[in-house]
């Protein structure tokens, strides 16, 4: 080991006297405050500022604070909106330790520190502030109020959030386009727990979720590896979690606080992880639903998301529920609309099995108006919930659309699903296909047909044209567009159809004109075209997927007259109650456009029906 025996210095009478040489030197000390203002360093951790226009009130600063110095306080005048909570941090400088963890973890970057470090007051009330863009008002400070330069700010090294998602494994495009197997593989336990660890538990998502699911709570359950608790959280608000864990439009993720600077938490996949990993047999034990029977019965027309959700919640309240479904299998759009590669039958079956286990009767092949009259249903039940959805396709009505090889997306999707589960014949598979539309249904049919083409001919030839001029403008999810591109679908954004070209009674293709504007100044649908610019896309089949419409033909005329409609939708109160007090409605015929809205409507209607029937007693 290296060491040195130090030689001790000898004493010297004159040596200490040399210190006198400093007599004439300038002192290094400075007088504060007032005399000399000593500016703090660039990274100084001084008093906070908080940019209110950026702050979303997520409260992560308060959670990380090691001294409990930060409290979130609701600010009157701020309103709750998507992605924002109406609260702002209040900092108690009697507790603050100036560690800047709040700055480093701030989801938006609104909270920062200044170089102001002087604040002198003998009033204890002067040590609590709600920082604003101007910071705090430091008494006898270095700077004028609001003029203090920035000190400690977050950079990529000091960031305490995890901005990157745990990657979800997917089947490769070349492989998945050959069959209808499910694309997303789902998280493993380790992956799910890691992804759950990214959540800061702010709950901003809950407000935006149409069903107001307890998202932070079930994510925390995953983080704690307590899936049973997670399942209970899911079923509090959403009995179709299996379906929503796969095909929800996940608006929650678009407002996720982490998404402000990084990739939002994969809420949808985490939900799916819980459902995928709790066996169905365990459900009744975990959820422990034993309602007291109320002795009243409810009829529900339609077994789509809204119908099933309403049935679940009504059954848990103790009502006797019967669902009337026209199709041979329950599930509505989930059974017949969404392609199998996104939502396999088994997933849906699991959700429906639980609802049936609660005693809900689902009568299939029971088309109201044909197999049973509406009046009969109305007579049988104490209240009726309509959830019949948008089952009819819309047509562009351009010349040639009446040709039998010009099809509607919904019936085609239904035919494909029926074929895949062995319920029906093989749908016709064109060599060249043109799809008209830019929404999710257009993606579904394009990608389904691409698969069929691949299986049949070994190559994909699908051309999808939409009015919207960019991918961003298209109403379809970006994921869907990207995946479709990967699978070989060709897109033509910004083209409106002129006519279906038919020669010798056979479809030859579609002529399009350039769309230069879809919506007008008032955001109304009002497309304008440049008639000069045209293209022609070859096709031997054309599928229209430009939207759906409701079918109210099953409703008796006198009822229809009593109901109020707005743009094809039934008007209801917040509990789904229509102008007829025993008649409730929800789902696409009230709100649209996605499954989770249907679930939310079903939940609201269940509460509404319960209120209505309880008040009648």
């Amino acid at each position: 080991m290296k060491q040195s025996q130090s030689q001790m210095p000898k004493k010297d009478f004159f040596a200490p006297v040399k210190a006198w040489k400093f007599l004439g030197k300038k002192p290094v000390t400075i007088e504060v405050p007032n005399k000399v203002k000593r500016e703090a360093s660039e990274r100084y951790r001084g008093f906070h500022i908080n940019d209110w226009s950026k702050c979303i009130g997520c409260g992560t600063c308060a959670k990380v604070c090691p001294t409990d110095a930060i409290k979130m306080v609701e600010v009157p005048g701020l309103v709750q909106e998507d992605g924002k909570l109406p609260q702002r941090p209040v900092i108690d400088y009697g507790r603050c330790s100036f560690c800047a963890l709040c700055v480093d973890i701030c989801t938006t970057g609104s909270l920062q520190m200044t170089r102001e470090y002087i604040h002198i007051s003998d009033d204890p009330e002067d040590y609590i502030f709600m920082p604003t863009e101007k910071g705090i008002k430091a008494k006898r400070g270095l700077y004028e109020h609001g003029k203090a330069p920035l000190g400690w700010v977050k950079d990529k090294d000091s960031d305490l959030l995890d901005l990157e998602r745990v990657l979800m494994e997917m089947v490769e495009p070349q492989e998945r386009v050959r069959s209808f197997i499910e694309i997303v593989k789902g998280y493993s336990k380790e992956q799910a727990m890691k992804e759950a660890a990214r959540c800061v538990g702010c709950g901003i998502c809950t407000y935006t979720c149409p069903a107001h699911m307890d998202i932070p709570q079930y994510i925390e359950s995953i983080y704690n590896d307590d899936l049973e608790e997670g399942l209970r959280w899911l079923y509090r608000t959403n009995p179709l979690s299996m379906v929503c864990g796969r095909v929800c439009t996940h608006r929650c993720e678009s407002v996720c606080a982490i998404g402000n600077r990084g990739e939002p938490v994969a809420i949808r996949w985490l939900k799916r992880y819980i459902i995928d990993n709790v066996p169905l047999e365990e459900y009744s034990r975990i959820l422990d639903i034993n309602p007291e029977k109320k002795g009243k019965s409810i009829g529900i027309i339609g077994s789509g998301p809204a119908g099933l959700a309403a049935a679940y919640f009504l059954a848990t309240m103790g009502y006797d529920v019967t669902i009337y479904e026209a199709a041979p299998r329950p599930g509505g759009v989930m059974r017949y609309g969404i392609p199998k590669y996104r939502l396999p039958d088994e997933a849906l079956d699991k959700d429906i099995a639980l609802i049936e286990a609660l005693g809900v009767r689902i009568l299939t092949n029971m088309k109201v108006g044909e197999d049973i009259s509406f009046d009969e249903i109305a007579k049988k039940h104490d209240a009726v919930f309509l959830a019949t959805g948008f089952g009819l396709g819309r047509s562009t009505k351009v010349p040639g659309t009446d040709h039998p090889n010009v099809k509607q997306a919904l019936p085609m999707l239904k035919m494909i699903r029926d074929f895949l589960r062995g319920d029906g014949p093989k749908p016709p598979v064109p060599k060249k296909l043109v799809v008209i539309g830019g929404g999710n249904v257009a993606m579904d049919i394009s990608r389904s047909m691409a698969r069929l083409q691949m299986i049949e001919y070994g190559k994909v030839d699908v051309h999808t044209a939409s009015l919207e001029r960019t991918y961003e403008e298209m109403p379809a999810d970006m994921d869907e567009i990207e995946e479709a591109l990967e699978e070989g679908v060709k897109f033509y954004p910004g083209w409106g159809p002129i006519e279906i070209v038919i020669e010798n009674d056979e479809v030859k293709g579609v002529r399009f004109k350039k769309c230069i504007r879809v919506f007008d100044e008032n955001h109304r649908f009002n497309p304008q075209f440049d008639e000069e610019k045209q293209i022609f896309l070859e096709a031997d089949m054309v599928i229209e997927a430009i939207g759906q419409a409701p079918d109210y033909s099953y409703l008796p005329q006198e009822l229809q007259e009593k109901l109020e409609f707005f743009r094809g939708r039934i008007k209801t109160n917040e509990y789904g109650q229509t102008a007829i007090e025993w008649l409730f409605a929800g789902g696409d015929i009230v709100h649209g456009p996605d499954i989770v809205h249907g679930v939310a409507d079903g939940h609201a209607a269940a509460k509404g029906i319960d209120l209505y029937l309880s008040s009648k007693e």
């Binding site: 709600m130 604003t132 101007k134």
Partner: protein
Amino acid sequence: MTNSMNEALKAIEIFNPMVEEIDERQVKVSVGNDKLVSVLETLKSKGYSHLSLITCVDWIDDGQLELVYILFSWQDGGKFIVTTRIDRNNPKFVTVKEIWPVARFYERELHEFFGVEFEGNDDMKPLFLELWDEMPPLRKDFDPREYSKSKFPDRKYEKDVIKEAKIFRGEIDG
């Protein structure tokens, strides 16, 4: 592991230790209550003569306290974390102050913070806390927040911080 650590481990093999390597110069050795002092003495004679720390971990779910003795060798930087578990409800052990005099104070501290009695060490006056009237505070079931709530008042602020912030932002006149 260093050579001398291997040798030391061989020497204590007869005491049936549970050995867990933490890094190349750190090993955790868990032994039974009756073996602990012998293990410590053996290790000391093998060069692990510096007592870095005596401490305790409360495994409340197992109903046990784990006594931890950290030994260090100035020869090669090897560290032994020697532990033994005792009953949490009747926490008694023997003193090691004869081996390391400073242990007297560590043991006094553990008595104060965990309630462990050390036979042979009768100086158990509280070392750090004055007028303590609760359970030993480093036990897991002691809640310091509840304690301080019961002992000290919370500060209440009167100031309307929201109004003040709005004045700062120029939303209202102040």
